[in-house]
Structure formats: structure tokens, C-alpha cells
């Protein structure tokens, strides 16, 4: 199981996630990002994108994964509904984003996230579980 919360920052915002597995951790971070942009807005999982990424370490991989969600939204107009991480191993990730075409009336944007930053980025084991913390640029 994963749980997340949004963190305070003077100019921007952060995300903190706790989860039992790395896969749940990355999915939880994606849910937190979605809440930051769209609040409670929901939708149907009728489209799917497969994602395959490489990064220097888990932290860089997490930034890439969240950046991928932003990119798919901005360029392909995909409103994300759920996230499935198939495998995170070493420096590579395989996963899926499911969602529906973005409709500003049904998915009103609460705030635009410009980018996911490396500032104070943490992905590490914590009390037998996993912890991630990161900040985004608004």
C-alpha cells in the first residue's frame, strides 16, 4: 500500500510518498502529481501508453517517470487516470499510463506544473518501506 502527501514550499510544491515496494512508490508519486494538477477530477481508463525509461539511479528514474506523465498530457493530451509499474530494476523502468483524452471542462486544471526538479530529491528505504520526496516547479 502507498500513501502520499503534498509538501509546502514558498514558491513551489513538493510530494512525499511512502510505499511497501518501489513500484507502488512510483505509482503513488504519479497519483500525487495528478492531484496537484487536477485535484479530485476523475476519468475513464480507455487509452493506454507504455513507458520505458532509463535513469542514473532511482531518484533520476522517478523524475523521468513523472516528467513523462507531464509530457504525455501536454503533447498527446492524455489525462491520466491510473498508473501501473511493471518493473523497476537498477536503472530502468517499465510501466503504463492509462487515461482518456484531456477535456478542460471535465478535467479542469488547478495548477500548471512546469517541471519535476532534482532539488532535495530522495528515493530511499525507510523503516522497511520506501520513501520518496521531491519538488516540482510551478
Amino acid at each position: 500500500m502507498e500513501s502520499y502527501r503534498l509538501l509546502e514550499h514558498t514558491a513551489d510544491m513538493g510530494i512525499e510518498v511512502h510505499a511497501d515496494t518501489l513500484e507502488e512508490l512510483f505509482a503513488g508519486a504519479a497519483c500525487a502529481l495528478k492531484e496537484m494538477i487536477w485535484g479530485e477530477a476523475g476519468g475513464r481508463a480507455i487509452e493506454e501508453r507504455t513507458v520505458s525509461l532509463r535513469g542514473g539511479d532511482y531518484g533520476e528514474l522517478l523524475v523521468s517517470w513523472l516528467s513523462e506523465i507531464l509530457y504525455r498530457f501536454e503533447v498527446e493530451g492524455l489525462f491520466p487516470v491510473d498508473f501501473e509499474l511493471e518493473e523497476i530494476k537498477g536503472t530502468s523502468l517499465r510501466g503504463r499510463i492509462r487515461g482518456e483524452p484531456f477535456d478542460p471542462l471535465r478535467h479542469p486544471v488547478e495548477r500548471e506544473v512546469k517541471a519535476v526538479t532534482y532539488h532535495r530529491l530522495r528515493v530511499e528505504p525507510s523503516d522497511g518501506r520506501w520513501l520518496a520526496r521531491l519538488y516540482v516547479d510551478l
Binding site: 509530457y71 478542460p104 500548471e112 517541471a115 526538479t117 532534482y118
Partner: protein
């Protein structure tokens, strides 16, 4: 590690060199601002920047400093390529060449007030704002987009958006040299393609203002400003294209930092020597994004002119909406500065800071050569903005830089809480300020109280001699993304 800070005078503070710092920190702030600053991380970020290789002079923070990611917002730092100096995408930020353009008009408040609602609505329709919104009459092929990246505002003028005279009053003439679109990823081009000529959201805005007070009559005359005059401010940047260029560059710089053995107190400070291929490539890609931003503000200017003409049924000759100046707030530039009596080429990073070149400087536009380069400082949507000019003091002490805005003091959550249960749009309307906003949370998160009072910020700047106040502008209508 606790941070030592020493007061130098009423508006200067020193962070002494210690540990891994290569130089000291210099912070411009009043005593009251400093008390607030010590509660957050911004000062530690000033110290972190001081550890980077090849830094020349102090790691500087302007009075609108606040906690950023990596570099503080309101930070200025210069690096010497001949001394292993670096360039850092984090020292510019995601929104490359986020900046402000100020237009003056021949109209006065009494002419505009009766049609203000229509003007706000027309601007809100004609200038795309908010996520996903764009003009249907501007479709850009990737090939055309690469021309925008090379030419900046000049591309827009050549395509009928504005006049050649506009270009004379833009930092770098609206085109930063050395832009190489080959170094911009397909992803960045894709993100930018639909976003040229859009305002964006968050703190970006388009504001119809009135000149509320002239502080320096002589300079105001040169800038063409008079009391009661209508002006328009445009605050936006390079949109998704710039965010992606920064993102791509950070990935390269993370491995470059490891390759060149640069120790980083925060990964967001990742960088490469200015003389390395990674460093040169970043500057060439950054120039592309900066040019995109200049073109963006040029297009929006054309639509502002179109909106005024539509609402007031007046021609260009009667409206005379001309560009006073257009400044970058997030940029790194190679500039010549005097260090120890010797001219040196340095890479000056301004992240949430404005170039403020003095009277007589060859890069100060000819029209303003006798008074100094105009500096545009937006405040918050309920109070004021300021027009300043650069000074010799700024040139010698801060690499020709000054502040860029009010600076946030409240997190978005705190601002939302403070706005809860209030009708912010109604409160502002009661004070004669109309708001049109695309985003749901934007108005609450951008309330006046979320920012420092910009008057206090420019007061410190003026007392420190790194900028000279010319005029104060008051908002009448604000378009937010």
C-alpha cells in the same frame, strides 16, 4: 550546518566564506526581510551557489530572494570560463527567459475606465491563457519553429507581428546570438509548437495598468511615461519548450558533473565547465528557448494592440502602443565586466533577477543611453509594479543586475487558506481591479498577501544604489492563466 550572517549596512548582509564555499555570499535585504528569510532555505542556497567552480565575486541575492530549487530565486552569480567557471541550467531555471515587457500608450485612465470590462474580456479572448489554450490562426510547422528559435522576436516582426522599431527596445534586440536548434530535442520542439503566443498560467499575467506616480520626472520623460497614462505589462516566458530544454540539459549536466568531478551540494545545481561541449551546448540550446520567449512576448504584444484597436475603435496612430522595454528574468549570458581593473568575459546567471545596465553602457539602447536601461519590476495583482533604470552602482557591485519582482512569502497552501471563504475577485473589483483567470486555483494562490510588498523590495534596491525608481504603476485589469 548553521548559517552565519553578518550585517554590512542597512541593506547589505554578508554570508562569510566557510567550508566548501569559494567566495562569500552577499544578500540585499532590510532587517525585517532578513528576519523572515532566516526561516527558510534561500540563504543556504546562496551559500551552495558559492561552492561552484570558477565563481567570480560574491554569490548574490536580491531583496526579492526566496527559496528556489538549487539556486535561490533572486540569485545572481558570475563565472569565469578561464578559471574553470561553469554554466548551470538550474541557475537559469525551467522557464528560460521568463521576462517582462512594458508597453506605453497614448491613452489615459479616464478614456479606458468606461470600457475596461470590454477590454479585459477582449484581451482574455485574444491572448491564449491557461493550460492547452492556443490561437487557431497560428499553426507552426517544426521547420518554422526552428526559425523562431534562431531569430526570436525578429521572426515575429518579419511575419507581421509588430514593427522593426519594437526590436530596438528589447534586451539583446529580441534575438540572443548563438542559438542552435539542432541542440534542441524533438520533445522540446513538440512541447513548444502549440504554445508559441500563449501566456501560460501560475504567476504569468497580462496587466492593463495606469501610471500612478512618477518618481523621477526626467527619466520618465525619456521613457515616455506621464501620470495617468495607460500601460500594459506582459509577463511570460518560453513555455513548455523552455521547460523541456532545461529538463533535457539537467540530465546531461548530471552526468557532466560526475565526469568533470564537480561536487554538488544539491543535484539541481548540476553544471559543466563553460569551455566543455556540454556547457557550450547548453548555452546554444538556452539561446533557442530565450528566443522563443522573445517571440512569444512579441506575438502577445500584437494581440494586445489588436484588442485595444477593437475595443476603442482607434488606429495605431491614436493608440501608440509602443514597447518601452523587454527584460529577461531567467537567463545566463556572456558579458564583459571589470574585475580588479581588468575587463573579463563572464557568464552571468540571473535567476529571478534583471539586467540593470547603467547610463552610457553600449548595450543600453540608444534612446535610453543618457538615463540607463529600463528595469521592469512586477508586483502582485492587487498592488503595484515599478519601472526602474539601471545604475553604475549595479554595474560595479552586482554585475549590472537588480531585483525582478516582489517575491513570494506564502506557500500556495497558505495562500489558499488565507483566501478561503473570501471573494477575491470581488475584493479586487471593489478596488477598481478587474481579474480574468483561466485556472481554478490561480486567483486564490496569487493573492496579494502571498507576496512581499514590492514597494519594500524596490526601496532596498534604490537605497543600495543598484537601481533607480522611475515610476509606479497600478493595475486596472489583470489576465491570469
Amino acid at each position: 550546518m548553521t548559517l552565519r550572517i553578518e550585517q554590512i549596512d542597512a541593506c547589505r548582509w554578508r554570508i562569510p566564506k566557510e567550508g566548501a564555499m569559494r567566495t562569500e555570499g552577499l544578500v540585499f535585504a532590510s532587517r525585517q526581510m532578513m528576519a523572515a528569510l532566516q526561516k527558510e532555505e534561500a540563504l543556504a542556497q546562496v551559500r551552495n551557489v558559492a561552492t561552484l567552480p570558477g565563481i567570480v565575486g560574491p554569490s548574490i541575492a536580491m531583496p526579492d530572494i526566496h527559496w528556489g530549487y538549487g539556486f535561490p530565486i533572486g540569485g545572481v552569480a558570475a563565472f569565469d570560463p578561464e578559471e574553470g567557471g561553469i554554466v548551470s541550467p538550474g541557475g537559469v531555471g525551467y522557464d528560460i527567459n521568463c521576462g517582462v515587457r512594458l508597453l506605453r500608450s497614448a491613452l489615459v485612465e479616464d478614456q479606458v475606465r468606461p470600457r475596461l470590462k470590454a477590454l479585459a474580456d477582449t484581451l482574455f479572448t485574444n491572448v491564449p491563457s491557461g493550460v492547452g489554450s492556443q490561437r487557431r490562426d497560428l499553426k507552426l510547422s517544426i521547420e518554422e519553429e526552428t526559425r523562431v528559435l534562431r531569430q526570436g522576436a525578429r521572426w515575429a516582426v518579419e511575419h507581421g507581428f509588430g514593427s522593426a522599431e519594437d526590436l530596438l527596445h528589447i534586451e539583446e534586440g529580441g534575438t540572443i546570438a548563438g542559438a542552435d536548434p539542432e541542440l534542441v530535442s524533438e520533445r522540446a520542439l513538440e512541447r513548444g509548437r502549440a504554445q508559441l503566443g500563449t501566456l501560460g498560467s501560475g504567476n504569468h499575467f497580462l496587466e492593463v495598468q495606469v501610471v500612478d506616480e512618477i518618481v523621477d520626472l526626467r527619466v520618465a520623460e525619456v521613457l515616455g511615461l506621464f501620470p495617468g497614462q495607460i500601460t500594459v505589462s506582459i509577463h511570460t516566458g518560453s513555455r513548455g519548450l523552455g521547460y523541456q530544454v532545461c529538463d533535457d540539459s539537467l540530465r546531461t549536466m548530471l552526468s557532466a558533473s560526475r565526469k568533470y568531478g564537480i561536487e554538488l551540494p544539491d543535484r539541481q545545481l548540476c553544471c559543466a565547465p563553460l569551455t566543455s561541449s556540454e556547457g557550450r551546448h547548453y548555452l546554444a540550446a538556452m539561446a533557442c528557448a530565450a528566443n522563443f520567449a522573445f517571440a512569444n512576448r512579441q506575438l502577445i504584444t500584437a494581440w494586445v494592440r489588436e484588442s485595444f484597436a477593437e475595443v476603442f475603435a482607434l488606429g495605431e496612430g491614436d493608440l501608440r502602443l509602443s514597447v518601452i522595454y523587454d527584460v529577461c528574468h531567467n537567463i545566463a549570458k556572456m558579458e564583459t565586466h571589470k574585475i580588479g581593473g581588468e575587463n573579463r568575459r563572464l557568464c552571468v546567471h540571473r535567476k529571478g533577477a534583471t539586467r540593470a545596465f547603467p547610463p552610457g553602457h553600449p548595450q543600453t539602447p540608444e534612446l535610453y543611453r543618457s538615463v540607463g536601461q529600463p528595469v521592469l519590476i512586477p508586483g502582485d495583482m492587487g498592488r503595484y509594479s515599478y519601472v526602474l533604470v539601471g545604475t553604475a552602482g549595479a554595474f560595479s557591485e552586482t554585475f549590472g543586475s537588480t531585483c525582478h519582482g516582489a517575491g513570494r512569502v506564502m506557500s500556495r497552501h497558505a495562500a489558499k487558506k488565507a483566501a478561503h471563504g473570501r471573494n477575491i475577485v470581488g475584493e479586487l473589483a471593489a478596488r477598481g481591479i478587474l481579474i480574468r483567470a483561466a485556472g481554478q486555483a490561480t486567483v486564490a494562490e496569487e493573492i496579494s498577501e502571498a507576496y512581499k510588498d514590492v514597494t519594500e523590495v524596490v526601496d532596498v534596491v534604490q537605497r543600495a544604489g543598484i537601481g533607480k525608481i522611475v515610476a509606479r504603476l497600478r493595475p486596472l485589469a489583470v489576465i491570469k492563466g
